[in-house]
Symmetry: C2
Subunit: 235 residues, 2 copies
Amino acid sequence: MPSLLLLSNSRNPGGEFLAHARGAIAGLLGAEPRRLAFVPYAGVTITPDAYVARVREALSPLGHSVESLHEGDPVEVLRQATGVIVGGGNTFRLLERLYQTDLLQRIRQKVLGGIPYLGWSAGANLACPTIRTTNDMPIVAPPSLAGLGLVPFQINPHYTDDVLPNHGGESRADRIAEFLLLNPAVPVVGLREGSWLRVEKGRVTLEGRHPMKLFRAGVPPEEIAAGADLTGLLG
Amino acid sequence: MPSLLLLSNSRNPGGEFLAHARGAIAGLLGAEPRRLAFVPYAGVTITPDAYVARVREALSPLGHSVESLHEGDPVEVLRQATGVIVGGGNTFRLLERLYQTDLLQRIRQKVLGGIPYLGWSAGANLACPTIRTTNDMPIVAPPSLAGLGLVPFQINPHYTDDVLPNHGGESRADRIAEFLLLNPAVPVVGLREGSWLRVEKGRVTLEGRHPMKLFRAGVPPEEIAAGADLTGLLG
C-alpha cells in the first residue's frame, strides 16, 4: 500500500519553493532521517545540479538527505533510497529518460515496497496510469505514455477554469472532456495549484487551499472540497 | 513542390468558421472545381458528419465538392481527391487515426504529387516534421509523433504571449524554448490566431492579421510582420 504525496505545483505565487506543502511533506517522510532519491529528469531549462540544490535547500529543515539520480549510479542511488522525489518540468522528457534508463519499473517496485513518494506537477502525472492528462508540450517522444500506475486515476496538475480572453484554445475542462470520451473508464482529478492529494494507508485525501474538480465520463464535473475523503477513487 | 495553406485557427473571435481566410483558401484551390478529401479525425467532441457539414457550408461559395474520409472508403476518397483538407481538434487523435488507417503516407504522397493542402490548428501541426509543438493534451498515444513533414520547420498554432494571471503554468514561449533545447535543429513558427502560412512555388509567406514569432535555438525570438517572405525557412 504505497504512501504518496502528489502536488499540483511546487511554488505558489509569491511563495518559496515547496513551502506551501512543507508540513504535508514532513508528515509523509516522518521523523526518522531518510535517504531520498531525487529524479531530476523532468527539468529541461534547469540543470540537474541546480535542481537538486533547490530541493535540498527547500527540504533541509526536515533532516533528511537528498541524492539526485545524476549524482551517482542511478540504480544504486535508487536501491539505497528510503524515499523518492520526482520533480516537475516536462512530463514527456521525464518519462523518456525513465524509459531510456530503465528506471520506471524500479521506482514502481520501490514505492509499492513501501517507501514514500513525493511528486509535483510532472511528478504527480507520473504516478498515474499514463501521462495522458499532462499540460506539457510533447517536446520528445517516450516509447509509451504509460506511467507508474501508483493510483488508478489521472491527475491534471495546475488545473484552472480560467481561459485567456479572446483566445480560441480549448479550456482545461474541454481537454479533459476529450480525454474522457476516449478513455471513459479513468476518472481525472483537476488539481488546482496550492493543492495536493495524500495517499496513505489505502486512503486518498485532498489537502491544500482549493477544492478540486473531479471529471468522470457521462456525468457533470464535480467540485470537491479540501479535506474530503476520496478513497472511492482507488476503486 | 507542395502547395499548402497552414492556418493557426479556424474561427476568429466573433467570426464565422474559416471566414477570415476564405480569400486565401480560394486562392489555394483555384477556380477549377476540385474534389476535396476532408480528414475529420482530429474531431473528438464533434461527430465526423457534423464536422464535414460545417466545412461544406463554409467552403460552398468556392464551388468545390467536399467528401470526408468517413463517408466512403478512405483510400478511394483520397485516391480520387484533387485537394486535401485536414481539420483541427486533437492532434494526437488525428495522428493516431492516420497511423491506424495507414493513410499518413498516402496523404503525403498525394500532396507531394501536387494537390493542394489546407490545414488549420491540428491540421497545421500535421504538416510539420512532427507534432511535438502541438498545444493539445496527449489523450491518446500514436505510435510515433512524426507528421507529414511537408515543411522542414515546426508550427505552434494559436500562438500567444499572454499567460493566465496568478498561474504557474509555463508560457507558450517557455514551452517552445524547451522544445528547442532538445530539438535545436528545427525552427518553430509561433503562428498567432488569424494568421496563416502560404507555401507555394517553393516560397513561404506569412499572411493574416498578426506578425508571427520565430523561435530558433541559440538566438532570441524574432517578431516577423505579415507579408514577410519566409522562404529561408525551407532551408
